[in-house]
Structures are given as C-alpha cells and as structure tokens.
Amino acid sequence: MAARPPHRKKSYWRPVLESIASPTLSIVILLVWQVGVPLAGISDFILPTPIAILERIAVDYRMILTHSLVTVLETLAGFAIASVAGIALALAIFYSRVFERAVYPLLVALQTIPKVALAPLLVLYLGYGFAPKCFLALLLAFFPIVISTVVGLQGLDKAMIDLVRSMGANEWQTFFKIRLPAALPSIFGGLKVGISLAVIGAVIGEYVAAERGLGYLQLQAGAQFDTTLSFAAMIVIAFIGIVLFWALEICERRAVFQREPAK
C-alpha cells in the first residue's frame, strides 16, 4: 500500500477539490477549445468549436436521434447475445477441463484477429442490414465477458468450497450461494468492457456498409466535408457509450455488494 506523504495534512478543501477536479478539467479543455479555435484562425471546416457542434446537434436532433436509435439497437442486441453466450461459454470452460483445453486456444486465436478486417466479410455473408453490425458488436464484446467470467469463477478460495460442502451443499447450491456471488464483481468488469466495445463494433459495421446509424452518418458527413456533423456524430457515439456504461454500473451497484476493505 502506498503511503501518503506523512506531513501533508488533510485539509478541509481537499475533498471538495477532489470532487470538482474532473468537471473543472473538462470545462477548462472546452473553454480553451472554444476560445482558441477562432483565435488561431482555424476554420470550422477543419475544427469546429464545441458550441458549433452542440448547435448542429440541436438543429439536426431528429435525424441524429433516428441514426442513434439504430446504433443503440445494434449495440444492445450484440451485447445481449455476447453476454448470454459469453457467460454460458465461460461456465462450460470452467466446469469442463476438456472444453477448456479445446476452446481456450481457439478463443485466444479469434481474439487476435483484427475485427475491423472481418467487417467486409460479414457484409458479404450477412448483407447490409442489422445483422452484420449486431454480429460485430457481439464479436468485440464476447472475449472480455468470457475471460472475466472464467477468471472470476476460478478466483474463488478453495476453502470456501470445502466450507459449503461440509454443510452438505450440492453443486447447484455451491454455484448460486458461493461461486456466482463471488464472481459477480469480475463478471461486471467484463460486461463493462464489453458494452464499450460493442458500441465500437456496431459503428465499425456501419462504416463498412450501411444505410443507417451514426457510423453511416459520420461517413456521409465526411464525404460531404461536413466536419461539424462528423464531430456531432462522434460526440453522440461517445455519449451513447458513456450512458450504456453508466447503466451497467447502476445494475452492478444493485447486484453486487460493494466490498469494503477489512478493518
């Protein structure tokens, strides 16, 4: 444990400073951006100001909302399938040694393939619609969910198993009373990484071939040298990622007991 410098006294202002540090930094960056761009003589075409981007989002909100909805649906569908399949696969890997030996190397190999390279192929196989984007989101989210679930399940103290076995627990009870709750923090870690990647997967899918979605919108904006709209799409993509991540964190807070350090 890293000790703090001994003579630094805890001041009254420190907690206040800590809580406003992040918003302050964001505001400073936005201010510099807003004021600096016109001062430096950079045109909107190269780098639009934050206010210009926000104005554009406000003006075109209907169109942006329509495209956002498409991207969100692709992301959520891919993520949902990745979660169910990923946790199921993790359970199989955990409970079966043969399965672990057979599937693990394959899984790692799959992970090393650049998913972006797969996107054109997916279009070829699955068409231009919803499916390839959903599949790409699934593909990106899958790996972290599987790995963190396996790691969470394997991390359990073996003595815990002896404890519940001594009480006469069967494997079913052992799983639901001990293994799953103990693995939940790790599983949620994987889900949170997964949802962020799922957004990226969906957008990459839209870059390659699409008629809808924020990736498509950004690509169109780029082709028409509409930099402000391109930035607007990017901001909305980031916003979606943050909101989905938060939503998962709220679920986590409800499902997982926050472990405090032992006294």
Binding site: S166, M167, K177
Partner: protein, 269 residues
C-alpha cells in the same frame, strides 16, 4: 454466558476412526502418505485435541472425518454410520473465518440452515442466542468487513454451532489470530462447549491450547502422521487462566514437549 436453554443441548456423537490411511498423489506421479494407520475412538461429548507439527497430516485427518475427501484405506464412522460424504451432524470451523463478505453476520450464520433447507425462522433465535454467547449481540446486521478478526472467527464458530452439530471439527481455528484475542477465544470456546457438550475434534499446533481445552490430547508424529501419544487430561472444569500454573498442567505440557523432542520437532534445551 452460562445460561443456555435446555433445547440448546446437543448430544455428542461417537467417532470411530479404524486403521485409516490417506495417500495423496503428488504432481510428479509419486505418492505421499499423509495419514498412516490411525486408530481412534472418540466418545460422545468428548473434547479431543490433536497437536502436531505443520504438515503432519492432522488437517488431512480432519478432512477425512468431515467427509471432504475419502480415506485410501480404513473406515471412519459417526454413530456407526460410515462417512462417505459430509455428515449432517458435523460442523466445521476452518483456520480462516470464510465469512461471505456480501452477507451480513446473521445471514452468514444461517448459511448452513439455508443449504440444509431447514426453516430459517426457527433458527434465527438460536443464531442470536449464539451471537450473544460470544459477545456479539447487536452485530447480526453488520457485515464481515466491519468486524475485527477475532469477532469474525467468533461468528464463524456460531455458524458451525447453529446446525447443532453432534461433532464439531475445528482446524486450527485460532491460528490466524493475535495472541491476546486467541487467549480470550480459548476461554470462550470452553464456555460454549460446556453449554453444548458435543463431541469436538480440535486441531492445533499449540501444546498449551490443546491441554487447556481437551479431555484428551493426541500427539501426531511428523509425516506420515500417526498418533504417538494419547493422553487423558484430568483437570477440573471449567479450567481457568490459573489452571495453567498448576503442576499437573505443566506436567502434561512437559510430557507432550518431550514427545516432540523425541520426534526431533523440538530441540532439547
């Protein structure tokens, strides 16, 4: 602390360990004899301590009695019933408390009740009674992280006792505690046991702990573990802090110490 309702009394079970061996397979394919031909009968309501050096197989012996792993040869019975899986009348206290951090103390104590699918409501009262006995009344809704190491281990003992076990197995339960806490825990364990009076198999590497608590002390040899001495401890109960200064107490300690010297576990000084 001594007021315990009659309903809380449990009857101890008889444990018979007959010619039992345990061989482990090592990673390199070799064999490791952990427990060598142990023959032992524990009477109902008897408190038996096993003392021995680290790695002598005493914990292995305990896990055999707990039904957590099968003996390689021999037979272990509890009240005449052969142990093939964890027995419903057995409660185990491990070296660490193993409390589930996501459950509060009461829910931790009721875990065996849940697993055995016994009615929860009927046992909440017993759980609170046990908590009161170990000086933890009012801590039922705290979480393990809010308790000290000694308090957590007390809760772990309550968790084992809530099942009203006829046999309590304790695997170096105070090994992870500081010396002062340990002292108090030993005294409290005696009080609790006098109230319940079940059969106890208590494993320790402390000679003093073994003599203070037990009706019988068994001394195990270094691996392969077998029993070198079986000594009945005839000291009045309840034993007190002062009992340790009694000549008889010291004589028992010396006798056990000499066994360890003969084994080469302790050097002669």
């Amino acid at each position: 602390m001594t007021s315990t309702s009659a309903s809380a009394r449990t009857h101890g079970v008889r444990v018979v360990i007959a010619d039992t061996r345990k061989v482990y397979e090592t990673r390199d394919g070799g064999e490791l004899l952990a427990v060598d031909r142990v023959d032992l009968t524990i009477d109902p309501g008897e408190f038996v301590s096993i003392v021995g050096p680290s790695g002598c197989g005493k914990s292995t012996l305990l896990s055999l009695v707990a039904g957590l792993s099968p003996p390689t040869s021999g037979r272990i019975t509890i009240d005449g019933e052969e142990v093939k899986r964890p027995h419903s009348k057995v409660g185990v206290v491990f070296q660490t408390d193993l409390l589930l951090y996501w459950r509060n103390i009461i829910d931790n104590i009721l875990l065996p009740i849940e697993i055995k699918r016994w009615p929860r409501r009927k046992h909440i009262e017993r759980a609170n009674e046990l908590l009161a006995q170990v000086g933890l009344s009012g801590f039922g809704h705290k979480f393990p992280s809010e308790l000290s190491g000694g308090m957590r281990q007390r809760a772990a003992i309550c968790r084992a006792l809530v099942q009203e076990p006829g046999l309590l197995l304790m695997d170096e339960p105070f090994g992870a505690l500081d010396a002062l806490t340990r002292e108090q825990m030993i005294a409290d364990l005696q009080t609790m046991w006098l109230a319940v009076n079940n059969t106890v198999l208590f494993i320790t590497h402390s000679i003093e702990e073994a003599v203070f608590l037990a009706d019988r002390v068994l001394v195990m040899s270094p691996r392969p573990g077998h029993i070198d001495l079986d000594r009945r401890i005839e000291l009045e109960r309840p034993r007190k802090w002062r009992s340790r200064a009694e000549p008889k107490f010291i004589a028992y300690m010396t006798e056990i110490r000499e066994i360890f010297e003969a084994q080469g576990v302790l050097s002669k000084q």
